[in-house]
C-alpha cells in the first residue's frame, strides 16, 4: 500500500507546528499503524531527517501509551481499538491520512505527536488510590467482593488512561477518565473509606488542570479503546453530589 500522510510536526511545546507531507510507500496491510510510522521514520532517518516522535509502549493495546488522532478520530476509525492495534488494512491504498496529536490545553504537545499527559497522573495522585496498611500480602479472598461489584469495578478499571476521551470530546473534558477511576474504586469494599474525599479531590484536580466541561455529547465513549460507557459519568455525578451533601 502507498499512503499520503499529513503529519503534525512541532519542535517543542513553545514552537509553532505545521503539517509535513510524507509519502509512505510499500506498506503491508498487516502492519499496525505504529509499524507503518516506524517504516516512515526509518526512511526519514535514512534521508537524514528527524523522525516523527510519537508515544508507544506495549503495542498490545493494554498500556495506554499510544495516542494519535487519525483523520479526526482518536485512535483511528476502528471502534474499541488503540492505535497500536489498528491495522493498515482498514485504510485504502493511496488514501490521505491526517495525523494529529491529542488536542487539549491540559495536554500540551511535547514534540510532534507526543503530548504531556501528566494532568492524568496528578488527578490520580489527588485521589485515585486506596490507602492500605503496609505489611505482608493479604490473604486472597480475605475481603469478600460480590460478583456484581467485581464486574462493575472491572468494567471501570478497564480504562488504560490513554486520554482518547479528552482528545475526542468537543470540549476536551476529562470526565470519562475521572468517572472510570472514581467508579472503579467506589465499587469495591477497599475503596469505601476514602470514597467521598476521592471524588471531591479528583474532580477538583480535574477542574484545576484546565480540562473542559462535559456536555453529554458522548464522543468519549465512541472512541474509548476499552469502550467505557458514559453511564460511569452519570455515576460520578451522583457520587460527587452525595459526597458534597454528606460533607
Amino acid at each position: 500500500m502507498n499512503l499520503k500522510l499529513r503529519i503534525w510536526r512541532q519542535k517543542n511545546s513553545g514552537a509553532k507546528g505545521y503539517f509535513q507531507k510524507v509519502d509512505a510507500k510499500g506498506i503491508s496491510p498487516d502492519m499496525s499503524f505504529l509499524e507503518m510510522l516506524d517504516v516512515v521514520n526509518e526512511e526519514l532517518l535514512a534521508k537524514g531527517e528527524e523522525p516523527v516522535i510519537f508515544d508507544h509502549d506495549c503495542r498490545e493495546g493494554i498500556c495506554g501509551a499510544c495516542s494519535l488522532v487519525i483523520n479526526g478520530v482518536a485512535h483511528g476509525p476502528e471502534r474499541g481499538t488503540t492505535t497500536c492495534q489498528l491495522h493498515m488494512r482498514h485504510f485504502k491504498d493511496g488514501q490521505i491520512i491526517v495525523i494529529e496529536p491529542w488536542r487539549a490545553s491540559a495536554f500540551p504537545v511535547l514534540k510532534d505527536l507526543a503530548v504531556d499527559r501528566g494532568a492524568f497522573d496528578r488527578i490520580i495522585q489527588a485521589g485515585g488510590f486506596v490507602s492500605v496498611g503496609a505489611g505482608g500480602a493479604p490473604d486472597g479472598n480475605a475481603i469478600p467482593v460480590s460478583k456484581n461489584s467485581a464486574e462493575l469495578a472491572m468494567d471501570a478499571a478497564a480504562c488504560i488512561g490513554c486520554g482518547a476521551c479528552v482528545a475526542a470530546c468537543k470540549n476536551a473534558s476529562a470526565m470519562l477518565f475521572v468517572a472510570a477511576k472514581v467508579s472503579h474504586l467506589a465499587a469495591l469494599p477497599q475503596g469505601q473509606v476514602e470514597r467521598a474525599a476521592r471524588v471531591e479531590r479528583m474532580v477538583a484536580q480535574m477542574d484545576q488542570e484546565g480540562f473542559g466541561n462535559c456536555t453529554n455529547q458522548f464522543e468519549c465513549q465512541a472512541v474509548c479503546p476499552k469502550e467505557i460507557g458514559v453511564w460511569f459519568i452519570a455515576k460520578m455525578n451522583k457520587e460527587y453530589l452525595k459526597a458534597k451533601i454528606c460533607q
Binding site: 487539549a104 470540549n171 474532580v203 473542559g212 456536555t215 458522548f218 452519570a234 455525578n237 460527587y240
Partner: protein, 229 residues
C-alpha cells in the same frame, strides 16, 4: 462549601440540569395554557384573567423562572468560554463520531431562543412590537388575548418567526432533556432517555406551532372578523 460545589464542573452540570427542568416545566405549562385558544375566546381570556388575578402565585413563579433563566444562560456561557479555552488549538481535520447535531449547536440554538424570547415578551407581554393588537378588550372588558394572538399570527413574518423559533427550541430540548438525566446521575437506560427527549421536544414543537398554523389555515379566526384597521 455549597459555592465550591456549584462552581465545580460537576456542580454546574447539576445547575444546568435543574434550571433546565424549571424552564422545561414552564414551557410545558405555557403551551398547555396557550392551547386553550382552541377552546375559544372565552376559555383563553378567562384563563389569562385568572392568571393576572393571582399575583401571589404569578410573581413568585416569575421570580423563580427569571432566576432559573439567568442561571441557565449565565452558567452555559461560562462553560462555553471554558470549553473553548480547554482546546486552544483546534483539530485541522475534526470529525464527529457520535455527537448529535443538536448537542453540537446548543449554545447557538440557546442564544437564538434567547433573542426570540425577548421579541416574544415585547410582542405579547409588554405590547411593544404590535401595540395595536395589545390593547384590545373583549365583550366582558377583559384583555382580549385571543384576538391579540390571532391578529399577530396573521402576519406571515411573525408566525414564521414563531414556528422557526419553536423548531430551534425543539432541537435544543431534544438534547437538553436526554442530557439532563445523565447530568443528574439518573441515566440508567440511555437509548430510552434519548428517545424520550426527542419525543417530548417534538410534542412541544407540534403543540406550540399548531397555533400559528391554525391561524394560517383559517381554523382560528378573530371574533367578529377580527379586523382592527
Amino acid at each position: 462549601m455549597c459555592l465550591k460545589f456549584l462552581k465545580s464542573s460537576v456542580g454546574r452540570k447539576y445547575l444546568m440540569a435543574v434550571t433546565g427542568v424549571f424552564l422545561l416545566g414552564f414551557v410545558v405549562a405555557h403551551m398547555l395554557g396557550n392551547l386553550q385558544i382552541f377552546l375559544g375566546p372565552e376559555a383563553l381570556n378567562s384563563y389569562a384573567e385568572h392568571l393576572q388575578n393571582l399575583p401571589a402565585l404569578l410573581w413568585p413563579a416569575r421570580a423563580v423562572l427569571l432566576g432559573a433563566f439567568i442561571l441557565h444562560v449565565g452558567v452555559s456561557i461560562s462553560l462555553a468560554i471554558e470549553n473553548r479555552r480547554a482546546r486552544s488549538i483546534p483539530y485541522a481535520c475534526g470529525a464527529t463520531v457520535e455527537a448529535s447535531y443538536a448537542s453540537r449547536t446548543m449554545v447557538m440554538s440557546g442564544l437564538i431562543i434567547l433573542a426570540f424570547l425577548i421579541y416574544h415578551l415585547l410582542n405579547f407581554t409588554f405590547g411593544v412590537t404590535h401595540p395595536r393588537f395589545f390593547h384590545l378588550v373583549d365583550a366582558k372588558g377583559r384583555h382580549d388575548v385571543y384576538s391579540m394572538v390571532i391578529l399577530s399570527f396573521r402576519e406571515l413574518p411573525v408566525s414564521g418567526a414563531y414556528v422557526a423559533a419553536m423548531g430551534l427550541l425543539c432541537l435544543h430540548l431534544s438534547h437538553g432533556i436526554s442530557g439532563l438525566f445523565q447530568s443528574l446521575g439518573l441515566a440508567g437506560a440511555m437509548p430510552a432517555l434519548k428517545r424520550a427527549g426527542a419525543v417530548i421536544a417534538l410534542v412541544i414543537f407540534a403543540g406550540n406551532s399548531s397555533i400559528p398554523l391554525a391561524v394560517w389555515l383559517g381554523w382560528l379566526k378573530a371574533v367578529g372578523g377580527g379586523s382592527v384597521e
